[in-house]
Protein backbone atom coordinates (compact mmCIF):
# COMPACT_ATOMS: atom_id res chain seq x y z
CA UNK A 1 0.00 0.00 0.00
CA UNK A 2 1.52 3.28 -1.01
CA UNK A 3 1.41 6.22 1.32
CA UNK A 4 -0.29 9.43 0.47
CA UNK A 5 -0.78 12.59 2.45
CA UNK A 6 -3.93 11.13 3.95
CA UNK A 7 -1.92 8.22 5.38
CA UNK A 8 -0.32 10.37 8.03
CA UNK A 9 -2.47 8.66 10.60
CA UNK A 10 -0.90 5.32 9.66
CA UNK A 11 2.53 6.77 10.21
CA UNK A 12 1.53 8.11 13.59
CA UNK A 13 0.03 4.75 14.50
CA UNK A 14 3.23 2.93 13.59
CA UNK A 15 5.34 5.52 15.34
CA UNK A 16 3.35 5.11 18.54
CA UNK A 17 3.73 1.34 18.31
CA UNK A 18 7.46 1.84 17.96
CA UNK A 19 7.46 4.11 21.01
CA UNK A 20 5.55 1.53 23.04
CA UNK A 21 8.08 -1.12 21.99
CA UNK A 22 10.93 1.22 22.88
CA UNK A 23 9.45 1.57 26.36
CA UNK A 24 9.13 -2.22 26.72
CA UNK A 25 12.73 -2.77 25.66
CA UNK A 26 13.90 0.01 27.96
CA UNK A 27 12.09 -1.69 30.82
CA UNK A 28 14.04 -4.88 30.09
CA UNK A 29 17.25 -2.88 29.99
CA UNK A 30 16.56 -1.29 33.37
CA UNK A 31 15.72 -4.66 34.93
CA UNK A 32 19.04 -5.96 33.62
CA UNK A 33 20.73 -2.89 35.08
CA UNK A 34 19.30 -3.76 38.49
CA UNK A 35 21.32 -6.95 38.33
CA UNK A 36 24.51 -5.81 36.61
CA UNK A 37 24.85 -2.27 37.92
CA UNK A 38 22.57 -2.28 40.94
CA UNK A 39 24.27 -5.41 42.24
CA UNK A 40 21.88 -6.00 45.12
CA UNK A 41 21.98 -2.37 46.15
CA UNK A 42 18.83 -0.54 47.07
CA UNK A 43 17.01 1.34 44.35
CA UNK A 44 16.70 4.84 45.77
CA UNK A 45 13.28 5.35 44.22
CA UNK A 46 12.01 1.81 44.59
CA UNK A 47 10.28 0.45 41.53
CA UNK A 48 9.31 3.90 40.23
CA UNK A 49 11.27 5.05 37.18
CA UNK A 50 9.59 8.27 36.14
CA UNK A 51 7.52 11.14 37.42
CA UNK A 52 6.27 14.60 36.49
CA UNK A 53 3.69 13.14 34.16
CA UNK A 54 0.50 15.08 33.83
CA UNK A 55 -2.91 13.50 34.12
CA UNK A 56 -4.60 16.76 33.27
CA UNK A 57 -6.87 17.15 30.28
CA UNK A 58 -4.85 20.24 29.42
CA UNK A 59 -1.50 18.86 28.40
CA UNK A 60 1.26 19.23 25.87
CA UNK A 61 1.74 15.45 25.91
CA UNK A 62 1.07 12.47 28.15
CA UNK A 63 4.27 10.51 27.71
CA UNK A 64 7.38 10.47 29.90
CA UNK A 65 10.34 12.55 28.82
CA UNK A 66 12.57 9.94 30.37
CA UNK A 67 13.10 7.30 33.01
CA UNK A 68 15.73 6.86 35.72
CA UNK A 69 17.26 4.33 38.06
CA UNK A 70 19.42 5.26 41.04
CA UNK A 71 21.32 2.76 43.19
CA UNK A 72 22.43 3.67 46.67
CA UNK A 73 26.23 3.25 46.80
CA UNK A 74 26.51 4.47 50.40
CA UNK A 75 27.99 7.65 51.86
CA UNK A 76 25.57 9.82 49.88
CA UNK A 77 26.81 8.39 46.60
CA UNK A 78 24.66 6.87 43.87
CA UNK A 79 25.26 5.01 40.64
CA UNK A 80 22.60 6.22 38.28
CA UNK A 81 21.07 5.77 34.85
CA UNK A 82 18.79 8.06 32.96
CA UNK A 83 17.08 7.43 29.66
CA UNK A 84 15.96 10.57 27.87
CA UNK A 85 13.32 9.62 25.35
CA UNK A 86 12.86 13.08 23.94
CA UNK A 87 13.28 16.73 24.86
CA UNK A 88 10.14 18.84 24.90
CA UNK A 89 10.53 22.58 24.48
CA UNK A 90 9.61 23.23 28.08
CA UNK A 91 12.69 21.28 29.22
CA UNK A 92 15.29 22.54 26.80
CA UNK A 93 16.31 22.53 23.20
CA UNK A 94 14.49 19.71 21.37
CA UNK A 95 17.32 19.63 18.83
CA UNK A 96 19.68 18.56 21.62
CA UNK A 97 17.99 15.17 21.65
CA UNK A 98 17.51 14.08 18.06
CA UNK A 99 17.30 10.52 19.36
CA UNK A 100 16.80 8.83 22.73
CA UNK A 101 19.84 8.82 25.00
CA UNK A 102 21.13 6.64 27.82
CA UNK A 103 23.27 8.38 30.42
CA UNK A 104 25.08 6.44 33.13
CA UNK A 105 26.95 8.13 35.91
CA UNK A 106 28.08 8.32 39.48
CA UNK A 107 27.01 11.16 41.73
CA UNK A 108 28.40 12.19 45.09
CA UNK A 109 26.04 14.39 47.04
CA UNK A 110 27.29 17.03 49.42
CA UNK A 111 26.90 16.17 53.05
CA UNK A 112 25.94 19.76 53.74
CA UNK A 113 22.84 19.31 51.59
CA UNK A 114 21.49 16.42 53.61
CA UNK A 115 18.63 17.11 55.93
CA UNK A 116 19.22 16.14 59.52
CA UNK A 117 18.96 12.37 59.82
CA UNK A 118 18.07 12.04 56.17
CA UNK A 119 19.45 9.38 53.84
CA UNK A 120 20.55 9.78 50.24
CA UNK A 121 16.96 10.16 49.14
CA UNK A 122 16.77 13.41 51.05
CA UNK A 123 19.39 14.99 48.76
CA UNK A 124 18.81 13.06 45.56
CA UNK A 125 16.60 14.30 42.77
CA UNK A 126 15.69 11.67 40.17
CA UNK A 127 16.57 14.00 37.33
CA UNK A 128 20.04 14.85 38.64
CA UNK A 129 21.86 12.89 35.96
CA UNK A 130 19.66 14.44 33.32
CA UNK A 131 20.48 17.83 34.80
CA UNK A 132 24.21 17.17 34.79
CA UNK A 133 24.20 16.04 31.18
CA UNK A 134 22.02 18.72 29.66
CA UNK A 135 22.93 21.61 31.90
CA UNK A 136 26.59 20.81 32.30
CA UNK A 137 27.82 22.32 29.09
CA UNK A 138 26.84 24.36 26.11
CA UNK A 139 26.30 21.31 23.92
CA UNK A 140 25.61 17.71 25.00
CA UNK A 141 28.49 15.37 24.19
CA UNK A 142 28.23 11.65 23.57
CA UNK A 143 30.54 8.71 24.25
CA UNK A 144 32.80 10.91 26.31
CA UNK A 145 33.29 10.67 30.04
CA UNK A 146 32.48 14.01 31.54
CA UNK A 147 32.72 15.26 35.06
CA UNK A 148 31.45 18.18 37.03
CA UNK A 149 31.53 19.54 40.53
CA UNK A 150 29.46 21.70 42.80
CA UNK A 151 26.40 21.18 40.68
CA UNK A 152 22.83 22.09 41.49
CA UNK A 153 23.74 24.90 43.85
CA UNK A 154 26.20 22.74 45.73
CA UNK A 155 23.81 19.87 46.39
CA UNK A 156 25.98 17.65 44.18
CA UNK A 157 29.61 17.59 45.31
CA UNK A 158 30.80 15.93 42.12
CA UNK A 159 29.53 13.74 39.34
CA UNK A 160 30.86 11.91 36.30
CA UNK A 161 28.83 10.50 33.47
CA UNK A 162 28.80 9.22 29.93
CA UNK A 163 25.96 9.31 27.42
CA UNK A 164 25.29 7.16 24.39
CA UNK A 165 22.46 6.83 21.89
CA UNK A 166 19.97 4.48 23.50
CA UNK A 167 19.35 2.24 20.52
CA UNK A 168 23.09 1.67 20.08
CA UNK A 169 22.91 -0.65 23.08
CA UNK A 170 22.60 -4.08 21.62
CA UNK A 171 22.92 -6.58 24.42
CA UNK A 172 24.26 -7.14 27.90
CA UNK A 173 24.48 -3.42 28.62
CA UNK A 174 27.22 -3.08 26.05
CA UNK A 175 27.61 0.40 24.67
CA UNK A 176 28.67 0.66 21.09
CA UNK A 177 31.72 2.83 20.70
CA UNK A 178 33.93 4.00 23.47
CA UNK A 179 34.91 6.99 25.48
CA UNK A 180 37.71 8.65 23.59
CA UNK A 181 38.65 11.20 26.12
CA UNK A 182 37.52 12.92 29.22
CA UNK A 183 36.62 16.53 29.62
CA UNK A 184 35.89 18.54 32.67
CA UNK A 185 32.68 20.42 33.09
CA UNK A 186 33.58 21.63 36.53
CA UNK A 187 31.21 24.25 37.73
CA UNK A 188 28.95 23.61 34.79
CA UNK A 189 25.88 24.51 36.77
CA UNK A 190 27.63 27.12 38.79
CA UNK A 191 30.31 28.92 36.86
CA UNK A 192 31.49 30.78 39.95
CA UNK A 193 32.77 27.68 41.64
CA UNK A 194 34.67 26.12 38.77
CA UNK A 195 38.32 25.79 39.65
CA UNK A 196 37.98 25.08 43.32
CA UNK A 197 35.36 22.44 42.68
CA UNK A 198 37.31 20.70 39.98
CA UNK A 199 39.81 20.00 42.71
CA UNK A 200 36.94 18.60 44.71
CA UNK A 201 36.13 16.16 41.94
CA UNK A 202 39.58 14.68 41.91
CA UNK A 203 39.64 14.38 45.65
CA UNK A 204 36.31 12.66 45.59
CA UNK A 205 37.23 10.02 43.04
CA UNK A 206 38.93 6.96 44.40
CA UNK A 207 41.01 6.64 41.26
CA UNK A 208 42.27 10.18 41.71
CA UNK A 209 41.05 11.49 38.40
CA UNK A 210 38.61 10.74 35.64
CA UNK A 211 41.02 12.02 33.04
CA UNK A 212 42.50 9.09 31.16
CA UNK A 213 40.22 6.68 32.91
CA UNK A 214 40.07 4.46 29.86
CA UNK A 215 37.64 3.40 27.25
CA UNK A 216 34.70 1.65 28.84
CA UNK A 217 32.78 -0.50 26.41
CA UNK A 218 29.93 -1.31 28.72
CA UNK A 219 27.97 0.39 31.43
CA UNK A 220 29.29 -1.91 34.20
CA UNK A 221 32.81 -1.29 32.95
CA UNK A 222 32.21 2.42 33.32
CA UNK A 223 31.45 1.99 37.00
CA UNK A 224 34.36 -0.35 37.55
CA UNK A 225 36.70 2.31 36.18
CA UNK A 226 35.46 5.00 38.56
Amino acid sequence: MSLTASDYGLQIGQALKAVARLHADTSKLLLDCDKHIGKRRRSVFGSFVTRDLTYNVKADFWMPEGVYRFYDAGSLMVDALTVTFFMPERSGDPEAVPQSILTVGRIQYADSARTKGGDVKSVCDPWDLWLAFFRGGSKPQFQTILEGADLADGRIAWACWIAVPLVSISYGLAIKGSARHSESLAGGLDADGGDQLTHGVHQGLSSGSVVGVGHPNSAPTFFEHQ
Binding site: L3, A5, L22, K28, L29
Partner: protein, 169 residues
Protein backbone atom coordinates in the same frame (compact mmCIF):
# COMPACT_ATOMS: atom_id res chain seq x y z
CA UNK B 1 7.17 -24.29 47.16
CA UNK B 2 7.13 -21.50 44.62
CA UNK B 3 6.17 -17.91 45.33
CA UNK B 4 5.53 -16.27 41.99
CA UNK B 5 5.40 -12.51 41.56
CA UNK B 6 4.67 -10.45 38.51
CA UNK B 7 4.37 -6.82 39.53
CA UNK B 8 4.43 -6.86 43.33
CA UNK B 9 7.42 -7.39 45.54
CA UNK B 10 7.78 -9.48 48.66
CA UNK B 11 5.13 -8.65 51.22
CA UNK B 12 5.46 -8.32 54.98
CA UNK B 13 8.35 -7.25 57.14
CA UNK B 14 10.09 -8.67 60.17
CA UNK B 15 8.29 -11.72 61.53
CA UNK B 16 5.67 -11.29 58.83
CA UNK B 17 8.21 -11.48 56.05
CA UNK B 18 6.43 -13.52 53.41
CA UNK B 19 9.38 -15.72 52.52
CA UNK B 20 10.25 -16.23 56.17
CA UNK B 21 6.75 -17.49 56.91
CA UNK B 22 6.85 -19.82 53.92
CA UNK B 23 10.26 -21.13 54.90
CA UNK B 24 8.86 -22.05 58.32
CA UNK B 25 6.18 -24.02 56.51
CA UNK B 26 8.90 -26.15 54.97
CA UNK B 27 9.70 -27.40 58.47
CA UNK B 28 6.17 -28.69 58.82
CA UNK B 29 5.67 -30.35 55.47
CA UNK B 30 5.01 -33.72 57.09
CA UNK B 31 2.12 -32.18 59.05
CA UNK B 32 0.47 -30.69 55.99
CA UNK B 33 -2.18 -32.50 54.02
CA UNK B 34 -0.44 -32.48 50.67
CA UNK B 35 -1.75 -34.37 47.62
CA UNK B 36 1.32 -36.60 47.59
CA UNK B 37 2.00 -40.19 48.54
CA UNK B 38 4.22 -40.93 51.51
CA UNK B 39 6.79 -42.34 49.12
CA UNK B 40 6.80 -39.17 47.05
CA UNK B 41 7.04 -37.03 50.17
CA UNK B 42 10.04 -38.97 51.40
CA UNK B 43 11.92 -38.76 48.13
CA UNK B 44 11.04 -35.15 47.39
CA UNK B 45 13.43 -32.26 47.97
CA UNK B 46 12.35 -29.21 49.90
CA UNK B 47 12.98 -25.76 48.53
CA UNK B 48 11.40 -22.32 48.47
CA UNK B 49 11.71 -20.64 45.10
CA UNK B 50 11.04 -16.92 44.74
CA UNK B 51 10.05 -16.25 41.13
CA UNK B 52 10.07 -12.60 40.08
CA UNK B 53 10.55 -10.41 37.01
CA UNK B 54 13.26 -8.42 38.81
CA UNK B 55 16.49 -9.32 40.56
CA UNK B 56 15.25 -10.32 44.03
CA UNK B 57 18.67 -10.84 45.59
CA UNK B 58 18.14 -8.07 48.13
CA UNK B 59 14.76 -9.47 49.18
CA UNK B 60 16.21 -12.96 49.61
CA UNK B 61 19.14 -11.64 51.64
CA UNK B 62 16.73 -9.70 53.82
CA UNK B 63 14.89 -12.90 54.60
CA UNK B 64 18.12 -14.76 55.25
CA UNK B 65 19.07 -12.15 57.84
CA UNK B 66 15.77 -12.76 59.59
CA UNK B 67 16.15 -16.51 59.47
CA UNK B 68 18.02 -18.07 62.37
CA UNK B 69 18.11 -21.55 60.89
CA UNK B 70 21.04 -22.27 58.53
CA UNK B 71 19.17 -25.26 57.13
CA UNK B 72 16.22 -23.12 56.10
CA UNK B 73 18.53 -20.52 54.61
CA UNK B 74 19.94 -23.19 52.35
CA UNK B 75 16.47 -23.89 51.01
CA UNK B 76 15.92 -20.37 49.71
CA UNK B 77 16.34 -19.89 45.97
CA UNK B 78 15.47 -17.17 43.51
CA UNK B 79 14.85 -17.14 39.79
CA UNK B 80 13.57 -14.60 37.32
CA UNK B 81 10.84 -15.21 34.78
CA UNK B 82 13.43 -14.22 32.23
CA UNK B 83 15.48 -17.24 33.28
CA UNK B 84 12.54 -19.48 32.49
CA UNK B 85 12.20 -17.89 29.07
CA UNK B 86 15.89 -18.44 28.40
CA UNK B 87 15.75 -22.02 29.69
CA UNK B 88 12.64 -22.86 27.67
CA UNK B 89 14.22 -21.42 24.54
CA UNK B 90 17.42 -23.36 25.11
CA UNK B 91 15.71 -26.65 25.92
CA UNK B 92 13.21 -26.61 23.07
CA UNK B 93 15.99 -26.92 20.55
CA UNK B 94 16.79 -30.37 21.84
CA UNK B 95 13.22 -31.37 22.61
CA UNK B 96 10.77 -33.03 20.28
CA UNK B 97 7.06 -33.67 19.98
CA UNK B 98 4.76 -32.29 22.65
CA UNK B 99 7.65 -31.28 24.87
CA UNK B 100 8.98 -29.03 22.15
CA UNK B 101 5.53 -27.51 21.58
CA UNK B 102 5.03 -26.84 25.29
CA UNK B 103 8.46 -25.25 25.65
CA UNK B 104 7.81 -23.15 22.58
CA UNK B 105 4.46 -22.00 24.00
CA UNK B 106 6.01 -21.12 27.35
CA UNK B 107 8.78 -19.11 25.75
CA UNK B 108 6.40 -17.35 23.38
CA UNK B 109 3.96 -16.52 26.16
CA UNK B 110 6.66 -15.07 28.41
CA UNK B 111 8.23 -13.12 25.56
CA UNK B 112 4.81 -11.70 24.74
CA UNK B 113 4.67 -10.46 28.34
CA UNK B 114 8.11 -8.89 27.90
CA UNK B 115 9.53 -11.35 30.39
CA UNK B 116 12.80 -11.89 28.61
CA UNK B 117 16.23 -10.43 29.14
CA UNK B 118 17.23 -7.35 27.24
CA UNK B 119 18.66 -8.26 23.87
CA UNK B 120 18.73 -4.95 22.08
CA UNK B 121 16.09 -2.58 20.81
CA UNK B 122 13.56 -3.82 18.31
CA UNK B 123 13.54 -2.05 14.98
CA UNK B 124 9.97 -1.75 13.78
CA UNK B 125 9.46 -0.84 10.17
CA UNK B 126 8.05 2.63 9.85
CA UNK B 127 6.26 3.84 6.73
CA UNK B 128 8.27 6.36 4.75
CA UNK B 129 7.50 8.80 2.00
CA UNK B 130 5.60 11.37 4.03
CA UNK B 131 6.95 14.88 4.27
CA UNK B 132 6.08 17.53 6.76
CA UNK B 133 4.34 19.37 3.94
CA UNK B 134 2.11 16.34 3.73
CA UNK B 135 1.34 16.67 7.40
CA UNK B 136 0.25 20.25 6.99
CA UNK B 137 -1.91 19.42 4.04
CA UNK B 138 -3.53 16.69 6.11
CA UNK B 139 -4.28 19.19 8.84
CA UNK B 140 -5.76 21.46 6.25
CA UNK B 141 -8.00 18.62 5.10
CA UNK B 142 -9.07 17.94 8.65
CA UNK B 143 -9.87 21.60 9.12
CA UNK B 144 -12.27 21.41 6.20
CA UNK B 145 -14.33 18.62 7.76
CA UNK B 146 -17.84 19.82 8.59
CA UNK B 147 -18.52 20.49 12.24
CA UNK B 148 -21.56 18.54 13.51
CA UNK B 149 -24.67 20.66 13.64
CA UNK B 150 -25.56 21.80 17.13
CA UNK B 151 -29.26 21.70 17.85
CA UNK B 152 -30.04 25.17 19.12
CA UNK B 153 -32.98 23.95 21.24
CA UNK B 154 -31.46 21.08 23.15
CA UNK B 155 -27.76 21.57 22.65
CA UNK B 156 -27.71 17.93 21.62
CA UNK B 157 -25.43 16.93 18.81
CA UNK B 158 -24.03 13.56 19.81
CA UNK B 159 -26.66 11.58 17.94
CA UNK B 160 -28.91 11.95 14.96
CA UNK B 161 -32.06 11.98 17.08
CA UNK B 162 -33.20 14.45 19.69
CA UNK B 163 -33.37 13.26 23.31
CA UNK B 164 -37.16 13.62 23.39
CA UNK B 165 -37.41 11.15 20.50
CA UNK B 166 -35.17 8.74 22.33
CA UNK B 167 -37.69 8.82 25.15
CA UNK B 168 -40.43 7.85 22.75
CA UNK B 169 -42.19 11.19 22.88
Amino acid sequence: MIEAKLEAGKSGTGENDQLLRYSFLLRRLAELDLPMTTYDLQRSAKALLFLTPHDASAEILETVELCDDPELESLLFRVQWQDITAAANACRLEASGNARTILQDIASFLIRRNLEYFSGFARLSLPTGMTWDGFHSSVASFARLPIPHLDTDSGYFYGSRRPDRLNGE
